[in-house]
C-alpha cells in the first residue's frame, strides 16, 4: 500500500459521506461525525505505518507529478492531524453550529474536511505547478463552502463573500504568474524552472514578473502581505472549527508550496535569486508588522488570532527568504515545517477554548476570558501555555520556532528584517499577555464552573503537553525534518 491509497481513501470517504447523507437524510449527526472522525483516525494510523517504511513510494501513474521527500511526508502527516482535530472540534461545536444552517443539518461539514485533507496531502507532494494549482484549488474552493457554511449567520455569510472575492483574485494572480514563469522558463515543474533560471540566457524581466505574481498569489493562501486584509474578517466570521482549519491547515498547505516555489526561484546561480530574496524579506517584514501592530487594539479573540496568524506567516516568509541556516543546521524548509508543527498545538488549543466558551453560551471577546482561572483551572492553564507559546516565551514550543527564524536572520545578517521581527515579537508579548491577564482577573465575571466534557479535557491536556515537550526537547522533530548531512553538504557547496 502506498501513501496515495490513503489520500484516495480519504477523498472517497468524503464522497461516500455525501452520498449517505443524500440518501438517508435522517441519519444522526453523531453517526456522520463518528464515520468521518473514525475514517481520518484510521487514515492517520495507516499513514504512520506506511510512511515509516523507507520503501513507501507512489504508484507509477502519479510519479511524474508527485514526489515523496521528507518534507512531503511531514506535511501529509500534519494535514491528517489537523483534519482529525478540526473534525473533533466540529463535533464539539455541532450543537451551536446547527442553529446557523438552513435545515439544521451539518452533513457537508463532516465530508468537506476529508476532501480538503486529500487536497492538502496531494499539494504536499506536488512537483509541478499544474498539480499544485489543482490541489490548491480543491482546497480553496472547499474552503469557500466551509467558511460560508453557517449561512443563517450574517457574519459567516459576509466572511464567505470576502474570502470568495479575495480568493478568486489570488487565483487569477496566481495563474497569471504561472503563465509568465512558464513563458520565461518554458517549464512548469519546479526542477525545470530551477534549471532554466540557472542559465544566464533566460530572460530576466518576464521571470521576475512571473515570480512576483506567483508569490503574491501564494501569499494570499498563507495570509501574507499584501493580501492579508481578509484574514481578521474571515477568521471572525467563520465558524470556530473552520477558522482553526484555515489558520493551520490552509496555511501549512500554502507554505509547503511556497517552500518549494521559493527553493526553485532562488536556487543556486538563479538569475533572479537576489531580487526574489529582497522581495521576500520586504514582504515578510511588512507581514510581521501588519500582523502585530493592529493586533494590539483588538477586542475579539478571533480577530486577535487572525492578526497573530498574519504575523506568524511573516516570520515564516522571513525564514524562507534566508535559505539554509548553518547555525541551526536546518534548511529553510525545515525551519518552516518545525514552526508550523509548533504552531498547530497552540492555535488549536486557543480555538478549543473559544469553542468551549461558545458552547457554554459565551462570546468571543477577550473579556469573555475573565474568570476562566476560577471556572476551569485546567483550561486556564492550558490556554495560558498556548498564548505564552504564541508570544514566544522560552520553554514553550513557539519560542523554539521563533528562535530558529531569528538565528537564520542573524546568520545572513539581514538586520532590517531582524529589527521588524523583533518589534513584532515585542508587540506580540503585549497583546498575548493582555489575554492572559484577562484569564486570571475575576472582576465582573460569572463564577459557575464551565461545562467540559472528558474529550475536551483530554484534548487540552495533550495539546498543552505537546507545547511544553516541543519547547523543552525539540531535537527529535528537528532531526526528522532535516537530515544533518543535507545541510552540511549544501553549506560546503556555498
Amino acid at each position: 500500500m502506498s501513501v496515495f491509497t490513503i489520500e484516495a481513501f480519504l477523498a472517497i470517504l468524503g464522497l461516500v459521506l455525501l452520498m449517505i447523507e443524500a440518501f438517508a437524510p435522517d441519519i444522526s449527526r453523531r453517526t456522520l461525525a463518528a464515520l468521518s472522525i473514525g475514517g481520518t483516525a484510521l487514515a492517520l494510523v495507516l499513514f504512520f505505518t506506511v510512511a515509516s517504511h523507507e520503501t513507501s513510494s507512489l504508484p507509477a501513474f502519479v510519479q511524474p507529478w508527485m514526489k515523496l521527500d521528507s518534507l512531503a511526508i511531514f506535511y501529509k502527516g500534519l494535514s491528517l492531524v489537523i483534519t482529525l482535530l478540526v473534525l473533533w472540534l466540529m463535533h464539539e461545536c455541532a450543537p451551536y453550529l446547527s442553529k446557523y444552517t438552513v435545515d439544521g443539518r451539518l452533513s457537508e461539514l463532516f465530508s468537506l474536511p476529508l476532501i480538503v485533507c486529500a487536497g492538502m496531502m496531494w499539494m504536499a507532494a506536488a512537483t509541478d505547478l499544474v498539480t499544485v494549482f489543482v490541489a490548491l484549488e480543491l482546497v480553496t474552493v472547499s474552503f469557500y463552502v466551509l467558511v460560508a457554511f453557517a449561512r443563517k449567520s450574517n457574519l459567516a455569510l459576509e466572511a464567505g463573500v470576502k474570502y470568495l472575492i479575495l480568493g478568486a483574485l489570488s487565483t487569477g494572480i496566481l495563474v497569471f504568474g504561472i503563465a509568465w514563469i512558464y513563458g520565461a522558463t518554458g517549464s512548469l515543474s519546479f526542477e525545470g524552472i530551477s534549471a532554466a533560471l540557472a542559465k544566464p540566457e533566460t530572460s530576466k524581466v518576464p521571470a521576475l514578473l512571473g515570480a512576483a505574481f506567483l508569490l503574491a498569489g501564494l501569499g494570499f493562501k498563507v495570509a501574507a502581505a499584501p493580501f492579508q486584509s481578509w484574514v481578521p474578517d474571515v477568521y471572525q466570521g467563520a465558524p470556530i472549527p473552520v477558522t482553526t482549519f484555515l489558520s493551520v491547515g490552509s496555511k501549512a498547505a500554502g507554505f509547503v508550496v511556497l517552500t518549494r516555489t521559493v527553493e526553485a526561484l532562488i536556487g543556486e546561480h538563479s538569475i533572479i535569486g537576489p531580487e526574489v530574496k529582497a522581495l521576500l524579506l520586504v514582504l515578510g517584514a511588512l507581514t510581521v508588522l501588519l500582523g502585530s501592530l493592529p493586533a494590539i487594539f483588538q477586542q475579539s479573540v478571533k480577530r486577535l488570532l487572525g492578526y497573530s496568524s498574519i504575523s506568524h506567516a511573516g516570520y515564516l516568509i522571513l525564514a524562507l527568504a534566508c535559505g539554509d541556516s548553518i547555525r541551526t543546521g536546518m534548511t529553510s524548509g525545515g525551519i518552516v515545517a518545525f514552526y508550523l508543527a509548533t504552531y498547530l498545538p497552540m492555535t488549536v488549543l486557543a480555538f478549543l477554548v473559544l469553542a468551549v466558551l461558545r458552547v457554554n453560551g459565551q462570546g468571543e471577546d477577550i473579556r469573555d476570558f475573565r474568570g476562566l482561572g476560577k471556572r476551569s483551572p485546567l483550561l486556564a492553564l492550558a490556554l495560558t501555555l498556548a498564548l505564552a507559546s504564541l508570544a514566544g516565551l522560552p520553554l514553550t514550543a513557539g519560542f523554539m520556532g521563533k528562535l530558529f527564524v531569528f538565528f537564520s536572520l542573524v546568520d545572513h545578517a539581514y538586520w532590517g528584517a531582524l529589527v521588524c521581527a523583533t518589534i513584532g515579537a515585542a508587540a506580540g508579548f503585549y497583546y498575548y499577555f493582555r489575554a492572559i491577564v484577562a484569564i486570571y482577573s475575576t472582576e465582573g465575571s460569572s463564577n459557575e464552573p464551565l461545562k467540559l466534557n472528558i474529550a475536551s479535557k483530554v484534548g487540552a491536556t495533550v495539546l498543552a503537553v505537546v507545547i511544553v515537550v516541543l519547547g523543552v526537547y525539540p531535537k527529535p522533530l528537528q532531526h526528522t525534518l532535516t537530515k544533518p548531512v543535507e545541510v552540511a553538504a549544501k553549506a560546503s557547496a556555498h
Binding site: 499544474v130 489543482v134 484549488e137 450574517n154 487565483t171 494572480i173 503563465a179 512558464y182 518554458g186 481578521p232
Partner: protein, 105 residues
C-alpha cells in the same frame, strides 16, 4: 503577422481591466465577472506562450494542459461563488459591497 507580443499585450490589458474592475466596482456580481476576466488573461498568456514555444515543429503542450484545469476550476469556482452570492442576496436583498461591511475590528 500576429506575434507572441500581440497576445501578451491583449492578455495584459485583460488582466488590468479585470483588476481595475475588482477595485473600482461596487456590485459583487460585476466584481466576480472581472475576476473571471483576470483568469482568462492568465489562460490567454499560457496558451500564447505554449503555442509559440515550438520544439521539433510542435508547440509545447504542457501549459495548454494547465489551461484545461484552470477553465474547469474557474467553472467550479463560479458555481460555488454564485451560490454564496445568491445566499447573500437572499438575506440582504443587495449585492453591493456596502452589504458586507459588518466585520470590523
Amino acid at each position: 503577422m500576429i506575434t507572441l507580443n500581440h497576445y501578451l499585450v491583449v492578455s495584459g490589458i485583460l488582466f488590468s481591466l479585470g483588476l481595475a474592475g475588482v477595485i473600482a466596482r461596487r456590485n459583487i456580481l460585476i466584481i466576480y465577472m472581472c475576476l473571471e476576466m483576470m483568469l482568462s488573461a492568465g489562460n490567454l498568456a499560457l496558451v500564447a506562450f505554449s503555442r509559440f514555444r515550438v520544439t521539433d515543429g510542435l508547440p509545447d503542450y504542457t501549459a495548454q494542459s494547465l489551461v484545461f484545469f484552470t477553465i474547469t476550476v474557474a467553472a467550479a469556482e463560479v458555481a460555488v461563488g454564485l451560490a454564496i452570492i445568491v445566499a447573500l442576496f437572499r438575506t440582504k436583498q443587495s449585492v453591493d459591497v456596502e452589504a458586507v461591511t459588518k466585520l470590523q475590528g
